[in-house]
């Protein structure tokens, strides 16, 4: 049902105007986004709840950065025999080591959880020596060992960063616009963050430090999106004196729509290049960004603005009533 309403006012222009023009969105009328507010917020709510359920039941698959432990990346000259690698590792008492292919069949990723009795820093040598004795062609490409305390601190620092970014954004938007805007934007964007995390929980993708960085970057970036819409709303309140609040918001969203899609499209081009060409290390980073970008379009248009309505944004938030009083006097 919603699809149908979307299609009517949207006209994709290819012909008619000035010949060579390329313009995706020539929108004649404002799209009544606010009238679907009820549906979109409920869709959001459902996705949000699903994401939370995944987070609660499955939890995030934290990488070695957060849990502590050792990760080794080995490169073999010929396709590696994972079972043999597993056998060799159990030979030195590492039964709980996870062995899997990484990128290509020549690359093997070994993950060993933290142990109380052995020092993690010795472990990498032990593994390397063992594998080396079986196959001299094996090359150690990467080792990461994170002690338990460091992992704990990284989790704390990550949470602090998230909190600080959220507070910073709310304060900035409060100063620049109004508290209602700050609150609406941060709720909409934290909803994005929860959904990204929900995806990572649902598919059990590894949540590493770089994914956390991507999540925080998305937070800053998608607030961006809300700011552009809010900017228009503020401008419209000043310009379109007769229009209803809903109409003003609809107009603001419709006018910035084209920019929204093009900007996100361009950013997504870059992120897609990273997703496919950036290698394994950047893969999940780019994946988190992709989900973040997609949902930030949705949330800034269809979550932040309805929230703004719910918080009761009005013309008086921008135009001081005092000025009107003075106008009445003479």
């Amino acid at each position: 049902m919603t699809n149908k309403i979307f299609l009517i006012p949207l006209q994709i222009c290819g012909e008619g105007n000035k010949g060579t023009n390329m313009e995706f969105f020539r929108i004649k009328q404002d799209i009544p986004f606010m009238s679907y507010g009820r549906y979109t917020t409920s869709i959001s709510l459902v996705t949000f709840i699903v994401a939370v359920i995944f987070l609660a039941t499955r939890g995030l698959n934290f990488g070695v950065d957060f849990t502590g432990g050792t990760v080794l990346e080995m490169h073999y000259a010929q396709p590696a025999d994972l079972n043999k690698v597993r056998e060799q590792l159990s030979g030195i008492g590492l039964n709980d080591a996870q062995v899997q292919n990484f990128g290509t069949s020549h690359d093997v990723l070994i993950q060993v959880p933290l142990k109380q009795n052995t020092s993690g820093s010795k472990l990498s040598e032990q593994v390397r020596d063992t594998l080396h004795s079986q196959d001299a062609s094996v090359e150690m490409r990467r080792v990461e060992f994170v002690g338990p305390q460091v992992g704990k601190e990284l989790v704390e620092n990550g949470a602090m960063a998230l909190l600080l970014v959220s507070l910073g954004i709310v304060c900035y938007l409060w100063m620049r616009f109004e508290w209602k805007f700050g609150l609406a934007a941060i709720i909409a964007n934290l909803h994005d963050v929860v959904i990204i995390l929900g995806f990572f929980a649902a598919f059990q993708w590894e949540f590493s430090l770089s994914v956390l960085a991507a999540v925080l970057a998305v937070l800053g970036y998608s607030v961006n999106e809300s700011v552009v819409v809010f900017d228009r709303i503020r401008e419209n309140f000043r310009k379109l004196r007769k229009t209803e609040v809903a109409g003003i918001i609809d107009n603001a969203i419709t006018r910035t729509m084209s920019r929204t899609i093009i900007t996100h499209g361009c950013t997504q081009i870059m992120v897609t290049a990273m997703l496919f060409l950036g290698g394994e290390t950047l893969h999940y980073f780019a994946l988190a960004l992709t989900i973040g970008i997609l949902f930030s379009i949705y949330s800034s248009v269809l979550v932040a603005s309805p929230l703004l309505m719910i918080f009761g944004v009005s013309r008086e938030d921008f135009i001081k009533p005092k000025a009107e009083v003075e106008e009445v006097l003479p």
Partner: protein
């Protein structure tokens, strides 16, 4: 109509030229080099060293591309890795043990660029390959050790002064001394107060016992912790020198951690072995009856060690005591003649042994030998002037303050280095590093091309302007990163790509606004003007929120994430400049002079 004042155009031009100049070194690439740096504090890198390097290379038929001298080292650049490796062996055997010869990479950029300190970006370990260690110092252990030795010192002090006590025990962070009556406790307290300035003393009566409870003063605790960190830093530096790493990073992080980064080191086992080695210290007597002659065998019961200046000395094999007995060593001055001196504190056992040894050997020399990796070196070999009791030893004589500081450090290094644990390790092989660079570079290149094609197709001339502005952004960002020598990591490279993708937003905002103004029926010139004016506020707002995220990431992120944050923040600044000023200048150049402009190519 749309014209920038001259100064604004000039500003943009200057910024772009600077950007170009500082980006250039990145394009020249790097070539293999050998770096020679002196190991001892007495030797400096100067023109004589440069001459030695030059002749050594010439006589063996190696022709370096360039030899340069800087504050700490002499560097020789070669065309290929083969001659680099050969040169390393030749130099190492030629110059001896006083110098570290390390492999390095040097920028190939011409002299004039290096002259204005335009260097290529500083690559992080994940891009160039290498080892990163985070070491945690066991502060609890250091404090326990300090208290333990305080307890044994109190014991021997009380015994010396003939003050009767019933027992001294350490319990956690407290040392408890038991006395039989209040009077002796008072005497003991005075004595202890006199000798141990760093202890906080409290009387306590408990179950008919007269107790004196001593704890470390907070400032003393801090001093012990600081000196533990400093001492470990020095020890690590000495050891890393031995590894022959060109640009090691050894830094304190937080209160009790040390970061060690060794670019280019692959053999982690050896690196860990050398870093984790414990030095031992031995105090022995010098054999005064025999003299060392080169070539002849050393007399029975003696060993030959070299002093720090290289003079050989025969030392008896019998050990008086080892470094564990030294509880502290500090540089200072002799209280009588103000000569620089090293003050050593021995624990109870050490003090007793030292007293015996000095009583029997007045007028003879004793040697303090530091053993590292099974190799001994004499730190100092002073003459015994008199019998020394009480465990407080002072070494003076012909030392500069610098030397006393070094000696004290070496003594401590062998004596009470607080134990360290590796709490984080990240090793990246060189092939993976090179792969990471290629991948990062490729994805940026392809993304940039795709965006360019799209922008030009969609916005025509204005799209072209946006692409040029985006190019300027990349140029300025790389230049800024090179100038600041900020560490570029793989997430940092992702950051470059991401900021480029995000930077286009500003131009899209402007172009969309101009289109809209045109649709509203405004003249092209007015539309351009209004487009830039109106979009600026929005661009500012939206960038500041991203900047907030970037700053938070920088504050709380570690390692590679910090690299991402730096790029993100700098990228936002350069994109504001290029998207608004550079693109406007270009538009002005193309359209600005035509007063009766009827059509602009914006699609």
């Amino acid at each position: 109509m749309n014209q920038y004042p001259l100064w604004k155009n000039l500003l943009i031009l200057v910024a772009l030229i600077m950007g170009l100049v500082y980006t250039l070194p990145n394009l020249y690439g790097e070539s293999p080099a050998v770096q020679v740096s002196p190991l001892r504090s007495g030797v400096t890198a100067d023109s004589t060293l440069m001459g030695r390097v030059e002749t050594a290379l010439k006589t063996s038929g190696l022709n370096p591309d360039a030899i340069s001298l800087d504050a700490t080292s002499v560097k020789a650049r070669f065309a290929d890795t083969d001659s680099q490796l050969k040169a390393k062996d030749i130099l190492q055997s030629n110059l001896g043990e006083d110098f570290v010869v390390a492999l390095n990479l040097l920028p190939r950029s011409p002299q004039w660029l290096t002259g204005i300190s335009a260097l290529p970006m500083y690559l992080g370990l994940d891009l160039r390959g290498g080892v990163h260690f985070l070491l945690q110092i066991d502060m609890k252990g250091a404090l326990d050790k300090a208290l333990e030795s305080a307890a044994s010192d109190i014991r021997s002090t009380l015994r010396e002064q003939n003050i009767a006590y019933a027992g001294v025990s350490r319990d956690g962070r407290l040392v408890t001394v038991k006395f039989r009556d209040a009077e002796t406790r008072g005497k003991g307290e005075n004595e202890i107060k006199q000798h141990f300035g760093g202890l906080l003393l409290n009387d306590k009566d408990e179950g008919g016992e007269f107790l004196l409870v001593a704890a470390l003063k907070p400032e003393e605790e801090k001093r012990i912790q600081d000196s533990a960190v400093q001492q470990n830093l020095i020890t690590l530096r000495n050891r890393v020198n031995e590894l022959g790493v060109a640009e090691p990073v050894i830094q304190q992080q937080g209160a009790d951690r040390i970061v060690v980064q060794l670019p280019g080191v692959q053999d982690t086992a050896r690196a860990k072995d050398i870093l984790g080695r414990t030095a031992t210290l031995e105090v022995r007597l010098v054999d005064e009856e025999h003299h060392y002659a080169e070539g002849s065998p050393v007399p029975f019961g003696t060993e030959m060690f070299k002093e720090r200046d290289g003079t050989p000395l025969l030392v008896k094999k019998a050990v008086i005591f080892t470094g564990e007995r030294i509880s502290d060593a500090q540089p200072g001055f002799d209280s009588r003649d103000n000569e620089p001196a090293v003050h050593i504190n021995l624990d109870g056992v050490g003090a007793r042994k030292f007293k015996e040894a000095t009583r029997e050997n007045v007028g003879k020399r004793m040697a303090i030998i530091l053993f590292e990796k099974g190799k001994g070196e004499i730190v100092t070999a002073p003459v015994i002037r008199e019998e020394i009791g009480g465990g407080r030893v002072q070494i003076t004589g012909r030392m500069s303050t610098e030397e006393t500081k070094n000696t004290a450090l070496l003594l401590r290094a062998g004596a009470l280095a607080a134990p360290m644990d590796i709490v984080e390790e990240r090793t990246v092989g060189p092939s993976l590093g090179a792969d990471n660079i290629t991948r990062g570079f490729h994805s940026t290149q392809i993304g940039f091309t795709a965006i360019s094609i799209f922008m030009i197709a969609y916005y025509l001339m204005f799209g072209g302007v946006s692409v040029l502005a985006l190019g300027a952004n990349l140029l300025l960002l790389v230049a800024l990163l090179s100038m600041l020598q900020a560490t570029l990591t793989l997430p940092g490279m992702a950051g470059i790509a991401l900021t480029l993708g995000m930077a286009i937003d500003a131009n899209v905002l402007i172009n969309e606004r101009i289109r809209e103004e045109l649709h509203n029926g405004n003249t092209p010139q007015a539309s351009i003007h209004a487009g830039y004016e109106h979009a600026f506020g929005t661009i500012l707002d939206s960038n500041i929120t991203t900047l907030i995220a970037g700053i938070a990431l920088f504050m709380f992120g570690s390692g590679p994430i910090r690299g991402f944050a730096v790029v993100l923040c700098l990228g936002i600044l350069t994109s504001m400049f290029s998207a608004v000023l550079v693109s406007r200048a270009l538009v002005n150049l193309i359209y600005g002079r035509k007063p009766r402009l009827t059509k602009v190519a914006i699609g």
